[in-house]
Every structure is written in structure tokens, then in C-alpha cells.
Symmetry: C2
Subunit: 325 residues, 2 copies
């Protein structure tokens, strides 16, 4: 982490140099930054731009296959590094300015609330998943012990004529509980597996797009601020050229941002429908299976598993792998 931060700081120094040569429209009173706040902002920017970073580094590595190719391609590589550095610098600056309230940011309260809600939902479902896993693990051991108790009571029933009846009915009860327990374990397994997919795959996939969208928003705002500053500056020939370039950059990042925003909106909508459908089914299964088991209703328990197409695990199989997922 320390190394990463130092790395990003050195990148920032490079990009600062490039920028100072290519632009002079920055407000002269750049806010004095403490080393601490720089580190923080830089590491945030690096996290959000990780996609970009890996792109840049892969184009750096690939030409090393042949030395001649490296020399031939090097000017375009240098341009690529330069562009990436400028972008990183712009985004870091934008984040920092937003943090200190010196720059405006594009707000979409409704969408941001939805995203916040999704993150909260993921956290809460992960907690349910953890609890059901814990409960299932302990219940698995209860069932294993019931199996052993059924055998121990049966053995004692054979060898204790004076208490035969008492040992016999206890043995039968434990054996029945063990059988029903295996069926309930299959239902719990199904619940865990489905909620795990929802929580750690389906929701996670949408949150990946959300993170890309958040990065695109920062880039868009950075290029928008650039353009606005240029428009305010006095016009000259050099400036008009720059203005044109800034306008192009702004349009490109606006398009990227809007595309990702649309993606997020669509994904959130579909995810929400899917999530409600999956959770409705799983919560019903969980409730019906638990209720049937703990009211000793074997028929209802088996009917529930059939209704939800849950296969019953073979009894006495070793500690199932899904307990350790």
C-alpha cells in the first residue's frame, strides 16, 4: 500500500510537469496541499482508474517482444503514457477540488441513492448469508450427533431389558430426526448457494459497472471544468486551438459517461427485479423448510423440497464444501 502510494505520487510529479508545459490556465493560487491529503486523493484516483492503469502498462510491456518494434512504436507509446498521465492528474485534481468544495460535480441524487441502497442491501444479505452458514454448520453437527445417538440408544436397548422400551423410543426419535435433518440440510444448502450467487456474483457484477460509471463521472467532470476555464479565459489563436481540443475531449468523456450511466440504470432495474424474485423464492423456501422440519412435518418438508426442485443430498456425506465457501 505504502509502495502503491509512493508510486502514484511519483506519477503525479511527472504529470504535473507535462501539464505545466501544456497549459497555463490553472488558477494561480493552487491550494496548498499537505502530503497527507495528496496521498489520500492519489490513492482514491488510482483505485478508480485501475482499468486505465492496466491498459497503459500492457501497452508498455507488449513491445518488448522485439527491440526494433519497441523503437518503432516508442513515440506512440510516449504519447499514450502522456495522455494517461494527464488524465490521472486531471482526475486527481478534480477529486481533490470536489473534496475542498472548489469544483462542481455532476450530481444524480436519485441514481446515487439507488447505488447506496444496493451497497447496503449487499452488506445486509451477506450478513444473512453468514448467519445461515453458521447455523447450518452447527445444525450439521447436531444431525451427525443424532445419528450416533440413534445407534447408541439402539445398542443399549438390546443390552438393557430393564430399560428396553425407554432406549427404543429414544433411538427411533433420534433416527427420524436425523433423516429429516438431512432433508433440511439440503434445503439450507440450496438457500446458501442461491443467496451466495445473488450476493457475490449478480450484485457484484452490477457494482463493477457502478465503479466504472463513478470513474467516468470524475473524468467527465474534470474535462468539463477544463473546458469551462478555457471558455472564461481571454481568446487568442493558441487558445482557440486549445478550446477546440478541450471541446473534443469533453464530448468524448461526456459520451462515455452517459453510456455508462445508461448501463447502470438498466442494470440496476434488472438487478432489482431479479433480486426480489430470487429472494422471494429463497425466503419462502427457507421459511417453509424450517417450519416443516421444526413442526415434525416430514411430508411438508419433502413437498417443499420438491416444490423448489431441491435435490436431497445423500445422507452421511462428508462435511459439505459449501459450509466452507
Amino acid at each position: 500500500m505504502k509502495k502503491m502510494e509512493e508510486n502514484s505520487r511519483s506519477k503525479m510529479r511527472d504529470s504535473t510537469t507535462i501539464h505545466e508545459n501544456s497549459s497555463s490556465i490553472l488558477p494561480e493560487s493552487t491550494p496548498s496541499r499537505s502530503p497527507r491529503s495528496t496521498e489520500m486523493t492519489a490513492s482514491i484516483s488510482l483505485g478508480n482508474l485501475s482499468g486505465k492503469t492496466s491498459k497503459a502498462s500492457s501497452s508498455l510491456i507488449s513491445p518488448q517482444n522485439g527491440d526494433s518494434q519497441w523503437h518503432k512504436n516508442s513515440p506512440s507509446k510516449i504519447v499514450s503514457i502522456k495522455n494517461w498521465s494527464i488524465s490521472t492528474y486531471k482526475c486527481t485534481k478534480q477529486l481533490m477540488y470536489e473534496k475542498f468544495g472548489k469544483s462542481s460535480r455532476t450530481m444524480d441524487t436519485e441514481l446515487e441513492n439507488q447505488i447506496e441502497g444496493l451497497r447496503d442491501t449487499q452488506k445486509k444479505y451477506a450478513n444473512i448469508l453468514r448467519l445461515v452458514r453458521t447455523m447450518t454448520s452447527h445444525f450439521y453437527h447436531v444431525v451427525q450427533t443424532q445419528h450416533l445417538m440413534g445407534e447408541a440408544f439402539s445398542d443399549l436397548a438390546q443390552k438393557s431389558p430393564e430399560l428396553q422400551e425407554e432406549f427404543l423410543y429414544n433411538s427411533e426419535t433420534q433416527r427420524n430426526l436425523m433423516k429429516n435433518g438431512e432433508v433440511l440440510l439440503s434445503a439450507l444448502h440450496f438457500f446458501i448457494s442461491s443467496v451466495n450467487t445473488l450476493c457475490n456474483k449478480t450484485i457484484e457484477d452490477t457494482l463493477l459497472t457502478v465503479r466504472q460509471y463513478e470513474t467516468a463521472r470524475i473524468e467527465y467532470d474534470a474535462y468539463r471544468t477544463d473546458l469551462e476555464l478555457l471558455v472564461q479565459a481571454s481568446s487568442s489563436e493558441t487558445n482557440s486551438e486549445r478550446l477546440e481540443k478541450a471541446q473534443t475531449n469533453f464530448e468524448r468523456h461526456k459520451m462515455d459517461f452517459e453510456k455508462l450511466r445508461a448501463d447502470v440504470v438498466v442494470k440496476l432495474k434488472f438487478l432489482d427485479e431479479n433480486r426480489v424474485k430470487v429472494m422471494h423464492k429463497q425466503l419462502l423456501l427457507f421459511h417453509n423448510a424450517i417450519s416443516a422440519y421444526f413442526s415434525g412435518n416430514q411430508q411438508a418438508l419433502e413437498a417443499t423440497l420438491k416444490q423448489f426442485n431441491v435435490k436431497v443430498r445423500p445422507p452421511n456425506s462428508a462435511l459439505p464444501s459449501w459450509l466452507e465457501q
Copy 2:
């Protein structure tokens, strides 16, 4: 252990010396003993005679309170040590001869079968106790997790209008299960505590008398063999004196043996009645509580606890100490 064996071997060497001076009726062809078999017999003898050993050592230690008293009492102490050593030697020899079929032993097949049966019963009840403890421990954690799940589902019901109903009924089910679980835990606690007392106190107390009886049997047989050998030997004045002494010893050990035998018979009878009574009650409680809980019959579960005078533990108390007993 190693030290104990060496200790007992050195005691045996002492007692051999004493015996060679005081008696010459041993068969000349004392079976050659490997160090291994000596060790085995010695350690058996030591185990059986532990009561005697501690007596002897306490009479050795007590006079050290005052030096003068030590010197005054020393002749009687030496006699006491001598007697103890002779007894230890006789018993060790008796055990060894029995092992190699060179000496007869007093058999009481019916009583010995009863004792063997009691030891087996203790082992089997201890196994049941261990299993119920394991089951209770896991079940305790299931109940704790149900408590947390009840809260987590309730929290989600408040915050998810789209799945409110599903979260609500799951929350209610878990809370009910948690409450009933606490009641079942009290019943399991009562079973564990009662069977633990039966197994590790009541039965153990009788088995202590059994071990004293077994030691007395060996001593009795040792003095009986001595007397028989003396009777067979040619008569002389020295011999008649010895015969009288052997007769007295034999009578004394016979009385001890018969008294302990009677104790064991009485204790076994009362223990058996007590054991059947306790186990009948506990097995009924265990079955009724488990059946009521796992058929969701809260009224029956509470009625069972009332019937057996079991107090319900306060809910959410820390991991009860009886799980670690």
C-alpha cells in the same frame, strides 16, 4: 509412570529380602520372570493396593512432627512397614501365580459378571452423556444463531418494503424457535446433570467398594494359599507356631473379604434399583422434551419441563458451565 514402576520394583526387592528370612516354604523353582512381566505384575499390585500404600506412607510421615517421638515409635513403625511389605509381596506373588495358572483363586462368577456388567453400563452411559453434551453444545449455537437471524430478518423487513412479508415471517419463525430452543436446552441441561451424577458419582462410588473388594479377594487368596502350603508341609514345632499365625491371618483376611463381598452385593442391588429409576425418568424426559420441541409443540414442551420439575434457564445467558463439565 516409569518412576512409579521403578519405585514399586525397589519395594519388591525389599520385601523379597524380608520374606526370604522369615519363610522357606516357597517352591524352589520360582518361575523365572522377565523384567517386563515383573513390571506388569508390580504395577497391577500397586494399583490394587493403593489404599494400603497410602496408609503405610501416612504412618511413616506422621512421626516426623517430633524427632523424639520418631525414635520412640520407630520399632512399631518398622513392624508396620515390614507387615505392609509382606502383604504387598504376598499379593503380588498371588496375582502373578494366578496369571500363570500356578495358584487357585476364589471365584464368584455371578458377582463377577454383575461387576463386569456394571463397568460396561458405566462405559455405555458415559458415551451417551458425551453424545448428549456434544449435541447440546451444537444445539446451543444453533439457538444463538437463530436469535441473531431473528434480528437480522426483522431489520431487513423494516428496510425492504418489497420483501417485507417474507422477511417478517422468517423473523417470527426464528424468534419462536429461539424461545423454544432455550426451553429444550434447560431440559438437556437437566438430563446431562442427572446422568452425570449417576455415571460419575453414584456408579463410581459402588465401583470404589468393588475395587476394595477385589483387593481383599487377592489378600484373602494369598493368605489362604500360605495356609494350605503350611498344612501340606511336614509338622514340626516351628511349623505349628507358623501354622497358628497363618491361621489367624487367614481368618482375619477371610472376614475382611466376606464383609466387603457383602457390602458389594448390597451396593450393587441398591445401585441397580436406583439406576433403573433415574434412567427411566431421564430417558422419558429426554424423549418427551425432544419430541415436543421437534414437533413444534410448545405447550407439550413446557408441560414436560413442569412435570419433571425442570427450571428454565434465563434466555441469552452465557455458554453454560455444564457444557464444559
